[in-house]
């Protein structure tokens, strides 16, 4: 009850922090796609390179978030960005690489070879095949990777409040500092709701970007 009171009384602040949170995650995810998808496509050419890239991404994924934030302070502070949103976004981009690269790689490797052959038979260049055959077929799986990355990023961005990035973690951070339960709970609940909401939204997106042909094919197989 007190929690609801707190949220109503501080609605403007809660709203602003939510927007800030979404902004950090949004920027990070956009950058992560722009970097991760080309890498994922590129490593389909060489298996040994693929395992190395995926292992490196896995090391970032294994690194605990607060430790990564910590390490980035001395690395980024010579550029004047040790604290704040920049290290938070850099860390989120690094974390998002594994799900995005892995899903892109797996999706493109799983495109049926007969479709690629058909593309070749039609006289498509390899670039055009990638754009018109492989990517459209891979896109639902890539979005699934983005979904994992986005949900994870929302959680990690909450921790980034401790390096001054703002966002909903601020409510938790200040609430713990003041031992004021309604504030902590508002932060925790808002972050959780945000994560669940984004998860649902991405699930919807996943369905929307699936090419019509695949959906029809699936329905025919199941019913």
């Amino acid at each position: 009850m007190e929690v609801i009171n707190y949220m109503v009384n501080n609605a403007a602040r809660c709203f602003q922090l939510t927007l800030e949170h979404l902004w950090i995650v949004g920027v990070a995810c956009t950058l992560a796609i722009l970097i991760g998808v080309p890498i994922g496509v590129a490593i389909t050419r060489s298996k040994s390179l693929a395992s190395k890239v995926l292992n490196t991404a896995n090391i970032f994924m294994t690194t605990p978030s607060i430790a990564l934030f910590g390490i980035m302070i001395p690395i980024l502070s010579p550029f004047g960005h040790g604290l704040g949103q920049v290290p938070a976004i850099v860390a989120l981009v690094l974390y998002s690489q594994l799900p995005i690269i892995r899903n892109t790689y797996v999706a493109i490797m799983n495109v049926p070879p007969e479709l690629v052959d058909a593309g070749k038979g039609l006289g498509m260049s390899s670039w055009r095949r990638l754009r018109e055959v492989e990517i459209p077929l891979a896109i639902p799986v890539i979005i699934a990777g983005l979904r994992t990355a986005a949900v994870m990023s929302i959680g990690i961005a909450a921790i980034a409040a401790y390096i001054g990035a703002g966002g909903l973690g601020v409510l938790i951070q200040q609430g713990i500092g003041r031992a004021y339960a309604p504030m902590i709970l508002s932060g925790a609940i808002l972050v959780s709701v945000l994560a669940i909401f984004v998860d649902g939204f991405m699930a919807l997106l996943e369905r929307l970007v699936t090419p019509k042909g695949i959906k029809v094919g699936r329905r025919m197989r199941h019913g």
Binding site: S46, T62, P64, I66, I73, P74, V191
Partner: protein
């Protein structure tokens, strides 16, 4: 082509190691860790961290595997979907939020942190146990029944060994998340390596911060690697061979 790539990759790794060495010297981490008092302090924090993770993981594994096994039995199988849904929802909740929520009900200290870690670690284990057992092919179960195995024997000799790979992945994910979340447990007064990290950030002392961050990362990487090794012990050899051929 691949040969060249391997060489470039190795060169990058060596350069990174070199840079890390220089950085450790420059940031004063070496001095910090040579101080006998700080050394003992850091070791205490590492011990707190490990104990917290170990206790939470033992309890989480026990509960997670039990839940996974219970909800794949014939009588409870129809609730498996609901359990999966709840677990999925729970996993979307950020770790800091879980810690914060637990703190507002149970207060600060070691116990609340342990409870939060335990609850959060159960989810991947339960999920993967469920998924792993559900994925055991029906013909294997039929064969086991045909051989006259009872339900208990089927569980121990057919279902669990075949699900082990997936269960281990769940354990591994859970372990890595647990180590990361334990670093946040300092915030609710449970100590651990987070103490170095957060104090380092607040005091703007890079050496202290790195003395917390590097062991945490190392701990996570070592745990990840050990879980992989565990696969060689727990996963039946037949399944491993099948995997290598595929």
């Amino acid at each position: 082509m691949d040969n060249l790539l391997t060489r470039v990759y190795r060169l990058i790794l060596v350069l990174l190691l070199l840079a890390a060495g220089v950085a450790i010297e420059k940031t004063g981490l070496l001095d910090y860790l040579s101080d006998p008092f700080e050394q003992a302090y850091t070791l205490t924090l590492i011990r707190q961290h490990v104990v917290m993770v170990a206790v939470a993981m033992v309890m989480a594994t026990a509960l997670g595997v039990t839940v996974g096994i219970l909800f794949t039995r014939a009588s409870l199988k129809r609730y498996a979907g609901v359990v999966m849904y709840i677990v999925g929802l729970g996993q979307t909740i950020p770790s800091l939020a879980v810690l914060a929520i637990v703190m507002s009900f149970m207060g600060i200290g070691f116990k609340p942190a342990l409870f939060a870690l335990f609850v959060y670690s159960v989810l991947p284990i339960a999920r993967n146990t469920l998924a792993g057992i559900n994925a055991v092919p029906n013909w294997l179960l039929d064969a086991a029944k045909g051989m006259g195995m009872n339900n208990r024997q089927i569980l121990w000799h057919v279902e669990l060994p075949n699900a082990m790979q997936v269960m281990l992945t769940g354990f591994r994910v859970s372990m890595v998340i647990c180590i990361g979340t334990a670093a946040l447990a300092f915030l609710i007064g449970a100590g651990g390596l987070g103490e170095h990290i957060f104090m380092g950030i607040d005091l703007m002392r890079t050496d202290k911060l790195l003395a917390g961050a590097l062991p945490t990362i190392l701990l996570a990487l070592v745990a990840d690697y050990l879980c992989e090794l565990l696969g060689y012990v727990l996963v039946p050899r037949g399944l491993r061979l099948e995997q290598q051929e595929a």
